[in-house]
Amino acid sequence: MQSTIRAIALLMFLVLAGCATAPQEPTETTTEEADSGADTDTGTGAETDGMGEEDGARTLTAEECPPDCPFSRDAIDDSSSLLADRTIYFEFDSSSVQEKFMDVIQRHAAYLAEYSDVDVRLEGHTDERGSREYNVGLGSRRADAVSRLLQAYGASSGQIEAISYGEEVPAVEGHNEEAWDKNRRVEIVYPASGGSN
């Protein structure tokens, strides 16, 4: 069956890619693990990211695969690519991903599934209203929602880092509904590419 072959091919690719890129792990990850390692004596069973064995990875069926899939490796550097759309907007006080952004998420999931050595950052943001610290929680909830969907569509947890900036980094300055609408967002950032942010 075609999908099985693709699955095997993808798996082999994942393994190869994993070996080839191991030395290129960003130093931040190392620091992170070292810090988390120090926490293990708390007995809280701290889990670090980066150990995931591509658990969420699976191949996309033809129906799930959005147009232009598979993407070329450098598609993330191409501003005319379907991957150029990297912002998911949210309703006030909500972390549910609206249907209209599913395409964007599926495309990035497809790309990440294809290139398992590529890492992505999900940066959650809120508008300026209310408590700053609560907004960090809300931004994190938004980033996590996008992360779960990316994984459901084929990206693996080890590729994704979710960060919340709360209301600290508005996309648009301003104290009105228009600005707030643009600031409640999750930005999909490819740290390795010269992309947005």
């Binding site: 988390s36 708390t42 809280t44 990211d49 209310g130 700053r132 610290e133 960090v136 900036y165 600290e168």
Partner: protein, 436 residues
């Protein structure tokens, strides 16, 4: 680089920052006095030197007393006389004006070197006698803090409570936008004067919190592209990263003994409250809920944490014993958004952000005994309230003409003032402890 040498370099950098007053001074504007509060006259101090006096000490004292909400200083124009010596005070005149207390003083240049001799006296008009009187020698730059010290003496003599005018605050200032945005952490006098930049970053800086010793600040910095909690010594600038786990590292709050931080972490999946033992670098989890738990603050006895949680839907304020002997108890029920609490030093009151029915975010004060809540601010997007160490004033962040400024309000809501920079935003004030 050797760790010790790096420390030295860091310390040197911090000292440079401390000696460069690049930070903008906050301007105070008193927007509301407490009508009917204790009537007092602070007479302009006499000046025996050449030219202009170094500072308007009486003006500073008057501002301090007004902002506390405990006093209503009389306008200068209404003073019938301006005594600078005890034998010039006519008690009968002041009684006729309805004034309970009179403050007088005078400033003389020192004969031997730069600086001043400052004397002040506080009189009780009804008893026709001096209540307090002191003489000080100060350097040229010490006049302003001396004025706050005199305010403290006057405040304590009359109210019986300690004044909080000689304390410091920390806050976050932001200049520029987009790629040019700069976040700084500032430490200044309680009135915004004498600001010092203790951290500058291109990435967000959040949630400054004073240690009980007044010598260290905990805060959150995104300088490494992800949030981490730091503890920095204010004077030396030396700092230590105390948490950089995966996910959120946020909202530090010092335990009363200064040995632990309550923080928000999400490395186990969900934003929860933890207590971080600084000496042993251990994190103990306190809350367990599917919601966002954040913004912890300790009760003065160190036994409970008050925090924000949206476990019941919208954010509300809860309390939980640090030893987890009981489940979290909800404390706020009015409105569908109450967040970011601070606890008064006597533990009797809470202040937090409250969303009104009209959608405005304002600062509320909840009396824990009577369970009565009162809104004390008047802005649209007020946030980050912090109690003065005597519990009588609250500083918070608010908006004025589209810019972030600091608001101060007496805890009873009667007296209000605004502290703003000439450009950029200021936010997230944290009021430091008494300085002994």
């Amino acid at each position: 680089m050797q760790p010790s040498r790096m420390f030295h370099a860091l310390a040197a950098l911090a000292l440079l920052a401390l000696s460069t007053p690049a930070a903008a001074v906050l301007q105070i504007e008193i927007t509301e006095g407490a009508a009917g509060a204790r009537p007092i006259a602070v007479v302009p101090f006499g000046w025996a030197g050449e030219g202009d006096p170094p500072e308007d000490i009486a003006g500073l004292i008057s501002n301090d007393l007004t902002r506390s909400g405990q006093f209503e200083p009389m306008n200068r124009e209404d003073h019938v006389s301006q005594p600078t010596r005890a034998d010039e005070v006519r008690f009968g005149n002041w009684r006729t004006l309805g004034v309970d207390h009179v403050v007088i003083g005078r400033v003389e240049p020192l004969n031997d070197g730069p600086g001043y001799n400052v004397r002040f006296q506080l009189f009780d008009v009804a008893r026709q006698e001096q209540v307090a009187g002191y003489s000080y020698e100060v350097g040229r730059n010490g006049v302003r803090s001396l004025a706050h010290e005199i305010s403290d003496v006057v405040y304590e003599e009359i109210t019986g409570e300690r004044g909080a005018f000689s304390t410091r605050i920390a806050y976050v200032a932001v200049q520029g936008s987009g790629d040019q945005r700069r976040y700084t952490l500032q430490v200044s006098d309680y009135d915004g004067f004498n600001p010092r930049t203790i951290l500058t970053s291109r990435d967000p800086v959040m949630s400054p919190a004073w240690a009980p010793d007044g010598e260290r600040l905990a805060y959150v910095s995104f300088e490494e592209g992800r949030p981490a909690i730091y503890v920095q010594r204010v004077v030396s600038g030396r700092r230590e990263k105390v948490s950089s786990r995966a996910g959120i590292n946020g909202a530090p709050a010092w335990s009363p003994d200064g040995e632990r931080l309550a923080v928000t972490l999400s490395y186990e999946g969900n934003p929860e409250i933890y207590v971080l033992d600084l000496a042993r670098d251990q994190a103990r989890r306190i809350t367990r809920s599917g919601g966002i738990d954040t913004s912890p603050v300790w009760t003065p006895d160190g036994e409970n944490l008050i925090f924000t949680s949206d476990r019941s839907g919208g954010p509300q304020i809860y309390s939980i014993p640090v030893d987890r002997s009981e489940r979290a108890r909800r404390l706020t029920f009015e409105g569908n958004y109450n967040a970011d609490p601070d606890v008064s030093p006597d533990g009797e009151r809470l202040t937090f952000v409250h969303r009104m029915q009209n959608g405005r975010f304002r600062i509320a004060v909840l009396d824990r005994g009577s369970e009565l809540m009162r809104v004390v601010s008047e802005g649209q997007l007020d946030e980050s309230p912090t109690f003065a160490p005597n519990g009588r004033m609250i500083l918070f962040a608010t908006d004025h003409r589209g810019r972030g400024v600091l608001g101060s309000v007496s805890t009873d809501g009667r007296a209000a003032a605004r502290l703003s920079q000439s450009q950029g935003d200021v936010r997230e004030p944290a009021w430091g402890p008494f300085r002994d």
